[in-house]
């Protein structure tokens, strides 16, 4: 059964000059902003809560609930910081929104600002995405000229500015408190939480940090109504709703970004959207949602005999047939992350794959916490030894030990994000590491 093709968030993709205001207006753009202006902020919040939108940046926190944490701050500003620092390996979805439909993003920001009574929105975009930055700047300029923002919003006395802020190349700045430090002009080192950003965020003021795709869905939420939006997904009953962008990359025939209802299965993502595995080969494993999420295999079956388990409905089925939801994937022992899967075929060396990922984390650790700074580099060096066929039995224990000692011992989630996939690979593919010790041969290169 082929997946139904959905064109809601992506409805303007493919339209000529889809990034211009003219094209956006032609497709019905900025109508939701007009709706929002007629609504009480509390009513907008209610719709967003009913939409069951789980944050699209990876953590899957309910956006409506996050918004409700922001308290009025009389006499002082509150801020919204948009997280468009897309950098998790395997993840390349937000970029398409900024390049192809920046006005949808801006409209989402404006509605959020009205709902939260915020007068400045900072949109932090990773510095490498020059085209995204230009398109977003252009969209903000056009929106300002058209009177959607500036000293008034469509005539309403509500000063509102959207500042496009370019990062400068650091994966860690996708972590919300590192993003805030970076926005403030400092090194992107994460902060201790609490206080959470909704209490002390940008420039010491309460701040809501949302992923760009989450906010880009807000115009649709107001257009359809929150509950209707939620029901577009297959996991409405689990309070995980709507449509979202999926990405698939690696060894598939048609890598790319696709829109679908929340709750597609990995099989649908790989076979129907991704066009199946290259060369008709079998899948060895999949990184389901960005590199920090532990890998899944087709041959592993769900074990959830308890009727109360969120996975019970899929008891006995393959992991590839479980709908991709925040709670379902957490129950599988991995994470949904950004819903952007990296597919590896049966000829891939998992030793090499682990080496590649650990090199990434070793490079991107901000250096603040010892377990992560030393641990990520240590894991990378050990993986390299395995890949070159120079590792000993003891290195396997050390690798496990280092990963275990990073988990939970750092300020932010980067260390866990490196240790979890490492432990996941060691659990499912320990034999490849043992073989490397035994044969002393270099592992085959990735290709």
């Amino acid at each position: 059964m082929a997946v139904e093709r959905v064109r809601i968030l992506t409805k303007n993709y493919g339209t000529p000059e889809s990034w211009t205001l003219a094209a956006y207006l032609k497709s019905g753009g900025y109508q939701s902003l007009r709706r929002a202006l007629e609504m009480e902020p509390a009513k907008i919040l209610e719709e967003v809560k009913a939409a069951n939108l789980r944050g699209r940046g990876g953590a899957g926190f309910p956006m409506g609930m996050k918004w409700s944490f922001l308290k009025p701050n009389p006499g002082k500003p509150n801020y919204i910081a948009v997280n468009a620092d897309e950098g998790e390996p395997g993840t390349f979805k937000d970029r398409t929104l900024m390049e192809l439909d920046p006005h949808r993003c801006v409209e989402g920001f404006l509605i959020a600002a009205l709902a939260l009574n915020v007068h400045t929105v900072f949109c932090y975009i990773r510095g490498e995405l020059v085209l995204s930055i230009r398109r977003m700047q252009q969209a903000v300029r056009e929106a300002r000229e058209a009177g959607y923002l500036g000293s008034r919003v469509l005539g309403k006395d509500f000063p509102l500015d959207v500042v496009i802020h370019a990062g400068a190349g650091a994966y860690i700045c996708g972590e919300e408190t590192a993003l805030l430090n970076s926005l403030e002009g400092a090194r992107g080192e994460p902060r201790l939480k609490p206080p959470f950003p909704a209490v002390v965020g940008a420039f010491g003021a309460p701040t809501i940090v949302n992923n760009l795709e989450s906010l880009a869905a807000v115009p649709t939420i107001l257009e359809l109504g929150g509950e209707n939006f939620s029901k577009l997904g297959r996991l409405h009953h689990l309070k995980d709703g709507g449509v979202r962008l999926y990405g698939v990359s690696g060894h598939v025939n048609k890598p790319g970004v696709y829109e679908g209802p929340v709750g597609l299965t990995l099989r649908e993502l790989i076979e129907d959207l991704g066009g199946g595995v290259r060369g008709g080969r079998k899948v060895k494993c999949v990184v389901p949602g960005g590199s920090s999420t532990p890998v899944l295999r087709e041959e592993d079956l769900v074990h959830a005999p308890d009727p109360k388990s969120v996975l019970h409905a899929w008891h006995g089925k393959s992991h590839f047939d479980v709908p991709m939801g925040v709670d379902t994937f957490r129950a599988l022992g991995t994470m949904l992350g950004t819903c952007c899967a990296i597919v590896m075929d049966d000829q891939t060396s998992m030793v090499r794959a682990a080496e590649n990922l650990m090199m990434f984390y070793a490079h991107e650790s901000c250096g603040q916490c010892t377990p992560c700074r030393e641990g990520c580099a240590w894991m990378a060096r050990l993986c390299r030894k395995f890949a070159r066929g120079e590792a000993t039995e003891r290195d396997l224990d050390t690798l496990t030990d280092v990963a275990n000692n990073i988990m939970g011992n750092t300020i932010c989630a980067l260390g866990d994000g490196a240790a979890m996939p490492m432990l996941g690979i060691l659990k499912l593919f320990r034999n490849e590491f043992e073989e490397a010790v035994r044969t002393k041969k270099p592992a085959p290169e990735l290709r």
Binding site: V130, R187, G188, N356, L446
Partner: protein, 179 residues
């Protein structure tokens, strides 16, 4: 030698300043502006940013060394970043890097002798569905093949001839004028 922003770039800074609650918040944008003009974040640039924004040079230097886009030494007229993270690697990124090293006459991390090219290894550039890919100055080039590299490099040289700035930058003159 002291550094000073051109009037055109100074105007961009002046437009941005009142939109942030602190001057320090302009550290990243201003470094981008300076780098576009100077080609790298020289000690003079660091001093200029620090004194313009009223922060210490140590803080600015700390920022420069934290982020990969800020160059700490002079780079070639064209900067090529090759993504070597997993999704690209599964589709042949290593071969692209090796071919580039041959064509440009320098290894990753180096600048060619004629000063035309700097080749750098990048971590994930968020183009995973279109790998292997490179960032060539301010442009992404995706779904690359080794055979297609020559045309790509020629095109970049031509565009560099027409460019006003010494190097690319996400904040600067180019974003205003183009596209």
């Amino acid at each position: 030698m002291a550094f000073e922003l051109t009037a055109e770039r100074r105007a961009i800074l002046d437009e941005l300043l009142p939109r942030y609650p602190t001057r320090k918040a302009l550290t990243l944008p201003l470094l981008h502006l300076c780098q576009e003009q100077e080609g790298w974040c020289s000690p003079a640039v660091v001093d200029y940013v620090a004194s313009t924004l009223g922060v210490s040079t140590a803080e600015v230097q700390g920022v420069v060394t934290f982020y990969t886009l800020y160059q700490q030494k002079k780079v070639g007229r064209n900067v090529v970043w090759v993504c070597r993270t997993l999704s690209c690697e599964l589709r042949g990124a290593k071969g692209i890097q090796e071919a580039l090293e041959k064509k440009l006459g320098c290894h990753a991390g180096e600048t060619s002798k004629d000063g035309e090219w700097t080749l750098l290894k990048a971590e994930c550039l968020a183009a995973c569905g279109q790998g292997p890919m490179v960032q060539l100055n301010d442009e992404y080039h995706e779904d690359l093949t080794v055979e297609g590299l020559d045309a790509l490099l020629e095109g970049a040289k031509k565009r560099a001839d027409e460019r006003k700035a010494v190097t690319f930058s996400p904040v600067g003159l180019a974003p205003r004028g183009e596209k």
